[in-house]
């Protein structure tokens, strides 16, 4: 291999990664065109070209907007609950010793088993999706905040108190800033959780959300549109993840 090319590839691993992805896409293309029944798989070229059709399928943009709304609502509520409970439990050692095991226990439960219950209670509309997203998203945030508050070095509290800070001032100027990186780490996990919860609920039953369309495309054996929709959703998930990750890095700089 040309040594200059070799050096370039060695330095830019991202290019090779892209190459691997391209290779996989090519493999997918070949398999879909010549080897597999077109009822089940669609080649990426066709999927790409028909993205426009997917977008223009009546109801799809609205469904995407609805899902984003569900996600935003679920995330906001999860942060609110996670933050309050996390602070309440984290700041009080007795509360932490008693309640943390309960929180961890609840977090470890396979929540998917009670998804039908959520639908029964909240209906088949957006409310159940939001609720399921909240229960998935709030635990990582709680746990991260408790951890963040816990590893505050006592010496910082002591020196603040020695300078005459009131309880409120300590909370505002010492505990809160210290906890922010953990908050963002928790929010990153909370975002994945909320997204997972909303998606699970959507895929289970949906009248106007994207779950409705995935079911429709599946039942109509329309792999092209299905792949297209899934690709759009995957792209959304990546972008959201990246946004939260960047926010986390930016706010954790002092660590």
């Amino acid at each position: 291999m040309n040594p200059a090319l070799r050096q370039f590839l060695l330095r830019h691993g991202g290019v090779v990664r892209l190459g691997v992805v391209v290779l996989l896409l090519i493999g997918w293309e070949i398999a879909a065109r010549w080897f597999v029944d077109p009822m089940f798989i669609s080649p990426p070229s066709r999927v790409l070209l028909s993205l426009g059709t997917v977008w223009h399928t009546s109801g799809v943009p609205a469904a995407l907007r609805l899902t984003l709304f569900e996600l935003a609502a679920a995330f906001a509520i999860a942060v609110a609950i996670g933050l309050t409970v996390g602070l309440a439990v984290g700041l009080q050692p007795f509360a932490r010793h008693s309640l943390m095991p309960i929180i961890l226990l609840l977090y470890g439960l396979p929540q998917i088993t009670i998804l039908p219950l959520f639908i029964l209670y909240f209906g088949i509309g957006p409310a159940s999706k939001i609720a399921f997203g909240v229960t998935h998203g709030m635990f990582p945030i709680m746990i991260a905040i408790v951890a963040g508050v816990q590893n505050l070095k006592p010496i910082l509290l002591v020196s603040a108190r020695s300078m005459g800070a009131s309880r409120w001032q300590i909370l505002r100027w010492v505990i809160f800033p210290h906890m922010i990186p953990s908050l963002f780490a928790g929010m990153r996990l909370g975002m994945s959780g909320a997204l997972l919860g909303v998606l699970l609920a959507e895929l289970y039953v949906s009248t106007n959300g994207i779950g409705h369309f995935t079911t429709m495309f599946t039942e109509n054996f329309d792999p092209t549109k299905l792949f297209g929709l899934v690709a759009i959703l995957a792209a959304m998930a990546i972008v959201l993840n990246e946004i939260v990750r960047r926010a986390e890095t930016r706010f954790s700089r002092w660590r």
């Binding site: 990664r17 010793h97 998917i112 039908p116 994945s192 699970l200 895929l203 599946t218 998930a237």
Partner: protein
Amino acid sequence: MARRGERASSLGSRAVQVGFLLGILALWYLATNRWGVNRLLLPNPIAVWQQLLDVLKSGEYLPDLRITLTELVAAFALSMTLGTIVGFFVSRTRYTIRVFDPLFAGIYSIPIILFLPLYVLFFGLGPASKIALGATISFFPIVMSTIAGFGNVDRTLVTAAKSMGASDYQLFRYVLVPAALPVILSGLRMGFTIALLAIIGSEVIASLAGLGHHIVQLAEGMDMARMFAYIAFVVMIAALLNAAVSFLEARGRRRI
């Protein structure tokens, strides 16, 4: 003095936890029996308990359990084999690690459950789609922990072994594997747990059989008490399986 204080506080915490549990049960009982909450929303806890005993006694869970466990074992076997093999080969050079590890991490950051409709389209509603999804999702923690395990073997150990004339096979068997095993085992445990979740999840969403599907059936039949009982049963099974796997992981680590 500190000791007594500690013990008192841990007793106190225990008391709060037990009290919490009892409180929930009490509220549940009162809600259905005294406060007239609709039985179609919240079944009587006593009825749930009776249904649970009935489920266990009748063994009606057996066919579903068999299906779910088969799917789980098949999915995990697939992801374990592929994950460890791919992970080992990626770990061989720093460059391949640098290229592939972020790729795996990136894909894993998407909720892979999104691909369930694709798998259902391709494999149908039967066990195959669940196995495929379970294998796909659990592949990632396994491959990444294998890469980490083999990739982080202390270089001095490898150098020492080579200086003593170890063959490639001896190096693999007596140095790389024991060094990497703790990390790999924990990755396998994570993979197993997540495969179980993925499989039950896909049974709930799109399936004709299996534990998850049974819960949905009971929900659609509005048989609330039995559904609650079945949910409790499935949660117990999941907890048992996870405990078993954690135990195995700890055993594997102690051997090393």
